[in-house]
């Protein structure tokens, strides 16, 4: 199980990068570029709050996983 957790760490880091790209270029920027007030606020929230939490948080989770921080003997 410890090896699976470490391997999955790479997946979480990749997923963090993918969600960062998707959130910024597919969700936030198109919303901001519409110019509609509600869309702009929504886009800014995606860009400044949701994206950092998902990409940095999930990336860090993956990194710790890769380092073996979630191994059975460390939990």
């Amino acid at each position: 199980m410890n090896s699976i957790k470490k391997l999955l760490g790479i997946l979480w880091i990749t997923l963090a990068l993918f969600t960062a790209y998707f959130s910024v270029f597919e969700l936030a920027l198109p919303k901001i570029s519409t110019g509609h007030q509600e869309d702009v606020v929504f886009g800014i929230i995606i860009l400044c709050i949701l994206t950092p939490i998902i990409s940095i948080g999930l990336g860090l989770f993956g990194y710790y996983s890769l380092l073996g921080e979630y191994d059975q003997n460390k939990m």
Binding site: K5, L27, F42, G57, F61, Y70
Partner: protein, 484 residues
């Protein structure tokens, strides 16, 4: 009681958002409309985690009891004052600004309340019964929404439409003061948590809970695990069942607003006892698989459930019985061209009103409004479909307070558990309506068949990721905690 009132206070704003927007945020004024958007997004998502950090820190330094007394007063005071603010017509720009400020205070208070209440109850719970005891706290979020719907429906039924529009909408806000006072009297007599008192007496409390919670790798990894392995999935399942379902009934199925509220209210009432059932069960078999089971069921069944909901109001497969056309009515601002009522064999009644606008932004344009009223078996089916979603909520939400409490040591518990909860619930869950609407609109523009189900991809994907992380990384322990 206090947590229930806090949720009631928080939901009353959302439930009355249409009236509030007409009184404080007129769409013709761009600044007011901007403040309205901020009030909607900021209080629900952005401010709650800050409240969790601010009050969590206080709770870990000063104590649980005094901190959640402050959050209660803050929430009650802010809600009461929203009910007192003169409308935009009376004081202009100050009205939306004051509402925004008070709404932000509500968000801050809610961010601080939940962690304190859950920690306080968990620290009073007998050994092996944390799940059962804290599950009562878990009922408050759903029951708070239920109470807010009941108070609004009751106020509406006791007043005429015009009375409710002029002053009646303020009643649910003003009532909050009475509720908060009762809750204050109850809380005042309560003693500080025994585990915190013991830690304080032994000098083992934290001097810098924020640093110890998030600056320490050992603890931070549990914060991340709590967020990505439990709270994130819980947040989207909770919001889908309680809010997306309501929005789906009103905007996609075009159900009458009061009927949609009643259906949701009945389903919430029937489902609420299951918070306690699953909380109790988590003490016996562990928290992990109950929470993850709820997420998995949600992932597998959301699309068939929402497809069934949609078909209940879809006229394509119904047999038309009769159609009546009402004579046109002229109002001050609009002229209703025609109202057509169609009745179907299963008791469904669909009203289509064509309106030509004589003033405002839509002047000269024609809009068509569809309102559906379902009856008989369809009504029961819809309650059942919402009830199933409430059961998923009770599975993921019932045991989660005990689960979060047990992940962290006493000295930083309030801070450490509050943040992942409010990020998971407030941000991942809170953004669900906006993200789902965006996905649905895109699918509709692309003329995707079943475009009305596209919004479900957001909760489904988040819940799948959370399920995988939770099932692999979380230990299935009920008690004791990792630190005991």
């Amino acid at each position: 009681m206090g947590t229930l009132i806090e949720w009631y206070d928080f939901f009353i704003f959302g439930s009355l958002s249409i009236v509030i927007s007409t009184k404080f945020f007129p769409a013709e004024n761009p600044t007011a409309a901007f403040l309205s958007t901020l009030a909607t997004f900021a209080a629900g998502f952005v401010v709650r985690p800050f409240g969790a950090l601010f009050f969590g820190r206080l709770g870990d330094i000063i104590g649980r009891k005094y901190t959640f007394m402050v959050t209660l007063m803050l929430m009650g005071g802010a809600t009461f004052l929203i009910g007192c603010i003169p409308s935009y017509e009376s004081i202009g720009f100050w009205a939306p600004l004051l509402v925004l400020i008070l709404r932000l205070l509500q968000g801050l208070a809610l961010g601080g309340e939940y962690g304190g209440a859950a920690t306080y109850v968990a620290e009073h719970a007998p050994i092996g019964q944390r799940g059962y005891w804290t599950s009562w706290i878990q009922t408050t979020a759903t029951f708070g929404l239920f109470i807010s719907l009941v108070v609004i429906l009751l106020t509406k039924s006791l007043l005429t439409e015009s009375q409710f529009d002029i002053w009646g909408w303020r009643v649910p806000f003003l009532l909050s003061l009475v509720m908060v006072y009762v809750s204050y009297l109850i809380r005042k007599k309560m003693k500080e948590s025994p585990e915190f008192s013991k830690a304080k007496a032994e000098g083992k409390t934290s001097t810098n809970p924020l640093k110890e919670s998030f600056g320490n790798r050992y603890n931070l990894k549990f914060v991340l695990l709590a967020l990505f392995g439990a709270a994130m999935g819980q947040g989207v399942v909770w919001y889908t069942g309680q809010f997306y379902s309501m929005s789906f009934m009103k905007t996609v199925m075009h159900l009458q607003s009061d009927q949609a509220d009643t259906i949701l209210g009945i389903a919430l009432l029937l489902g609420t006892p299951f918070f306690v059932v699953f909380g109790w069960l988590s003490d016996k078999i562990g928290r992990k698989w109950i929470m993850l089971g709820g997420m998995l069921l949600a992932v597998l069944t959301y699309r068939p459930i929402y497809e069934s909901m949609y078909q209940l109001s879809n006229a394509e497969h119904k047999v038309k019985l009769n159609e009546t056309v009402e004579s046109p009515t002229v109002t001050e601002k609009t002229e209703i061209k025609s109202v057509v009522k169609t009745q179907y064999d299963d008791g469904t009644e669909i009203t289509r009103a064509k309106t030509i606008h004589q003033s405002g932004k839509l002047k000269g344009q024609q809009t068509v409004t569809t309102t559906v009223h379902i009856a008989n078996w369809n009504y029961i089916c819809l309650i059942l479909l919402i009830f199933i979603q409430v059961i998923y909520i009770t599975m993921v939400y019932g045991p989660i307070a005990a689960f979060l409490v047990e992940l962290f040591p006493v000295k930083i518990r309030y801070t450490s558990m509050s943040l992942p909860y409010h990020v998971g619930n407030g941000i991942f869950g809170g953004l669900l309506p906006a993200v789902s609407t965006y996905l649905t609109t895109n699918a509709e523009v692309a003329q995707t068949p079943q475009f009305y189900l596209a919004g479900l991809w957001y909760p489904i994907i988040i819940a799948i990721v959370c399920f995988i992380i939770g099932s692999i990384y979380i230990n299935n322990k009920s008690t004791p905690t990792n630190h005991e």
